[in-house]
């Protein structure tokens, strides 16, 4: 009987102890620091042809004022370089400093024998059209300079495949701040290699040229 009572007493103590763990209390208080506001800046750039016609490259801009900018037809060896380059101004319109980081391109339409071929259907193009397309993008190069320094020279194929860095040979990149150095004038040229063969005769490509910017790194 005494043992049973002892066991019962111990059991009650244990239960009481466990129950008691959830009922501890301490004096406490809280102070609040309000109105801490985090506001992200913006990184935005705008591009403009300024006084020149848009787009940068076009066979003919018509018979009017801009006819002097006509690129004409392309052929192996043709170049648009130096003083014939096209100007494109990039402006930092955001609140953060920006770095002109890269260049890429996309072809939206490829035309051969008066037929337009959309890029999204490239897998179903006739073989001769694919060959013309390959020959074209491998042999047309885009050149980007600024104040005589080259920031990029590479094939259209490279630009379509991936974003290519826009930087000088010494690693210098163009920075645009939000005050006195918020604009840069990039000069765009193009070259058709003399290696291009007859497969590119009579074709045309409609190309979007994309300039990439990122926050200062």
């Amino acid at each position: 009987m005494k043992i049973k009572l002892s066991i019962l007493l111990i059991a009650v103590m244990i239960i009481g102890l466990i129950g008691g763990i959830g009922t501890y209390a301490w004096f406490s208080d809280r102070a609040v620091s309000s109105n801490n506001t985090f506001h992200a800046g913006t990184l935005t750039i705008d591009g403009d042809n300024t006084t020149e016609p848009s787009p940068l490259f076009k066979t003919s801009y018509g018979d009017g004022y801009y006819s002097n900018y006509d690129v004409g037809l392309w052929y192996p060896g043709k170049e648009i370089l130096g003083t014939n380059c096209r100007n494109y101004t990039i402006e930092n319109t955001g609140t953060l400093n920006a770095q002109i980081s890269g260049l890429s391109a996309e072809i939206t339409v490829f035309k051969k024998d008066s037929t337009d071929y959309l890029i999204e259907n490239i897998d179903s193009w006739p073989e001769d059209v694919k060959q013309s397309y390959d020959e074209f993008v491998q042999n047309l190069s885009i050149v980007v300079t600024n104040i005589g320094s080259k920031y990029y020279e590479g094939t259209l194929k490279s630009l379509i495949t991936d974003i290519q860095p826009l930087e000088r040979s010494d690693g210098y990149v163009i920075m645009l701040n939000t005050t006195d150095m918020k604009r840069v004038n990039l000069n765009f040229g193009a070259v058709m290699s003399t290696e291009a063969n007859n497969k590119i005769q009579g074709v045309s490509a409609t190309v979007n040229i994309i300039i990439h910017a990122s926050q200062e790194k």
Binding site: F57, L73, W74, L96, V207, I209, I210, I211, A213
Partner: protein
């Protein structure tokens, strides 16, 4: 026990760090010059037709000379070109490779044996000009003997055209 807790805390810390490494991002934006058109030209030289058309080339004889004929060549493409003429070989034909073969004269050049014509450059035709001309004349040398009687040959002349900037003639 303390060591086990410390190890657990360390492990949790490492996992958190590893997860954090894959989540770097930068603010970015783009500016696009849309709809740039790159259009290539075409280089096309038209077949000038039979050079001997309207030329009397039947019943020729030693000492015979044809009329001088002006041949018109057309640039029907959109790119200027330079062009040249040559003749395809005609094997085992006395009028081509006999001892006294047919001879041909291009523009102000001298008469040459037709099998020694090689490539003769004829100048340039711009896409704007559309056409160019050259003169051609034939003769059978007086030294051609009786072996040439009743012989005939049909010649094919080739016209190669290439961009004027091309230093050579190949593609």
């Amino acid at each position: 026990m303390k060591k086990k807790v410390l190890l657990s805390v360390l492990l949790v810390g490492l996992l958190a760090f590893g997860a954090g490494m894959g989540t770097f991002a930068w603010f970015t934006d783009t500016a696009t010059s849309n709809d740039n058109v790159f259009e290539t030209g075409t280089l096309t030289i038209d077949d000038p037709g039979e050079l001997t058309a309207q030329m009397t080339v039947d019943n020729i004889y030693p000492g015979w000379t044809s009329d001088e004929k002006e041949i018109t060549v057309t640039n029907s493409g959109s790119i200027d070109f330079k062009y040249r003429i040559s003749v395809e070989a005609l094997t085992d034909n006395i009028l081509y490779d006999g001892a006294t073969p047919l001879q041909v004269k291009i523009n102000d050049g001298a008469y040459v044996n037709i099998n020694e014509l090689g490539n003769v450059e004829l100048g340039e035709i711009t896409a704007a000009d559309d056409t160019g001309t050259f003169n051609i004349q034939f003769k059978l040398p007086e030294a051609a003997n009786n072996d040439y009687q009743n012989q005939s040959a049909t010649f094919t002349f080739a016209f190669d055209a290439t961009q004027t900037e091309n230093d050579g003639w190949t593609e």
